[in-house]
Symmetry: C2
Subunit: 362 residues, 2 copies
């Protein structure tokens, strides 16, 4: 009998093409609901290209609209916010959150655009900044920009019978990536500037992602820089501001509860692979300016990006609460439970009886 987890993954792939459906106009609420029902992603090309955001958002307009509003910015050494990091001291894997700073929007944007236009993207002290707070920031921190996008995606509001739970703005440069993870939301992801490359895995491929329960850490400025960063309201230019953070070091948070994290990366398939990873069939889709992606709840996704002509990458996504009723949540949890039960089952060594005897007779 085939192992159930293997069977689950191969059956899923037998029944579902390893491509993301491409639509060329928005689905009706009913058509959308069919995608929600099967938990399958799709992309609508040019769905949002007529949004005011798509027509207007260049660096000048954003700077003018947001001005000196303070925004929360994630700062990491290499664009790896909320990512798995191997600690040098002891090779331990940690789930590391970014260093966070507040800075006036205009300064933040300048440093993003300047970094993108610089010929060398690997400047020693060039930390990566990313506006990526997923806390409904477009209706809060970035509310001056909110009128430039619709308050809801009509087909989703009608189909799901609810308004968006959170609307988030994402703004950064080429170097930020979002490591493989999943969210408990139905997600409509709209590309405004630049491109994003999504790598997707269905929830049933959980056994492929090598989920491990990791300790948590956070990037913090190196001790030498710590004192300097405590002075706020600094007016220096952006390079100074970035440099001010100094080296970022991983600080283990010994009090934080350990957290389950996907450690396998389909782009480095040999590293951190499980016995199931080779069965995964990651879907890949590139969102270009004006495209919209439906990313079903609990799908794993890894996101990388490329700046557009304006020198930055910008997207807006709408999160709608997923339906925990029915079988979707329960089934997905079940896959996870079976995976962990299998990991914990004692693996008796195979007895190679013939060989043992041969040895004994010598």
């Amino acid at each position: 009998m085939t192992d159930p987890l293997t069977n689950l993954i191969t059956t899923y792939h037998e029944l579902n093409a390893a491509v993301v459906d491409e639509l060329h106009e928005e689905p009706s609420a009913l058509e959308f609901m069919r995608y929600v029902a099967t938990h399958r992603p799709f992309v609508v090309r040019r769905a949002v290209s007529e949004w005011k955001a798509c027509r207007k958002w260049d660096a000048g307009y954003l700077r003018q609209t947001m001005g000196d509003e303070e925004v929360r910015v994630a700062v990491t050494p290499s664009g790896n916010a909320d990512a798995v990091v191997e600690r040098k001291e002891d090779d331990t894997l940690l789930f590391v959150e970014p260093h966070e700073i507040f800075e006036p929007f205009a300064e933040f944007l300048d440093s993003v655009v300047q970094q993108s236009s610089s010929s060398s993207s690997t400047t020693a002290a060039g930390h990566v900044k990313y506006a990526q707070t997923q806390n409904d920031n477009l209706r809060n921190e970035y509310s001056p920009l909110f009128p430039d996008v619709p308050a809801n995606i009509p087909f989703a509001r009608i189909a799901l019978g609810q308004k968006a739970e959170a609307i988030n703005l994402w703004l950064g440069d080429d170097r930020s990536t979002t490591a493989m993870h999943k969210d408990n939301y139905e997600n409509l992801y709209c590309q405004i500037r630049g491109e994003k490359e999504f790598v997707l895995l269905s929830p049933g491929e959980m056994a492929c992602v090598n989920e491990r329960v990791l300790g948590r850490g956070r990037y913090v400025p190196g001790s030498a820089a710590a004192a300097a960063t405590s002075s706020s309201g600094d007016d220096g230019d952006d390079d100074d501001d970035t440099r001010m953070v100094g080296d970022l070091e991983v600080q283990l948070d010994v009090h934080a509860e350990r957290v389950p994290v996907a450690t396998w990366d389909p782009d480095e398939p040999e590293k951190h692979a499980t016995a199931y990873s080779h069965l995964a069939k990651p879907l890949r889709v590139t969102l270009r300016e004006g495209d919209m992606l439906y990313l079903p709840s609990m799908w794993y996704h890894k996101v990388s990006q490329r700046v557009g002509e304006e020198g930055f990458v910008c997207a807006v996504n709408y999160w709608y609460d997923m339906d925990f009723a029915g079988s979707h949540w329960a089934s997905t949890s079940f896959v996870r439970d079976v995976y962990y039960a299998e990991q914990m089952r004692p693996q008796y060594p195979r007895l190679e009886v013939g060989e043992e005897r041969a040895e004994g007779s010598e």
Copy 2:
């Protein structure tokens, strides 16, 4: 760590009420799609009461419309078509199909109605007859009656983007029951005459139903009666006709492939229970004349019935192909695989080390 199958069932029940939603008007296509998406049943009270079938189908009208059309009738000793039967000789469980006869519709209906009006429903030779061929019979055998029902259920046709794959008529008396089983169809079940009582279990409760792979059998007339039944076109009255079949005996079909069958019955919960059966929360719903039930694909259902004033029970159901894409089929198969893997895993006896030592020291 809790056993995954236990967790699956209890999580499902935590997230879903153990009742069937009651609607008082037909859902829209979109509302229906939400039920399909969560694989949750609902009943619409009085949804079909204005159908011509509901207004017209009494014994006289049916007899007049169908006349002497030959119909295929299932005959069983106690109303147990397609059911698990314990063979007396060796206590083996078999999946037993009914004896099948062809008879003019009017004669079949007379024997159903006569049986219902008889004071004793347990006459020794009173075999149970049930028109229950699930082969699109309303558009074939019973086509004269087809104009009395709609050719499709509009909300389902629109939501699922397809026409009904099969439309079936069911006609019998009080004594027929349909044993717990599941179908790979989205099912809209419409009650025309009498009542049906459905007992439902979600696909995730697979571990409760004690699915076993059984040999197959069929009811056949006892050897003494075998010769007599081969003469067809008999014109005798219905009692004769029924009696003609003689005793029905289970005949094992040694060539037929064994088949997986649910053997647990929520109405006899102690019998054939698995370690999980006590976790089941069967949903119960009674369909009365004019009611419609949405029975989602792959839900287990057991059906019993009571005749109405007309002396028979009659229903019409619409089967729509289920969507094998997405995760529904794969997840449901996975539950089954995990269940079987657990059954087949060697159960090492618990070593009660302390006691063994005590025995050894005696």
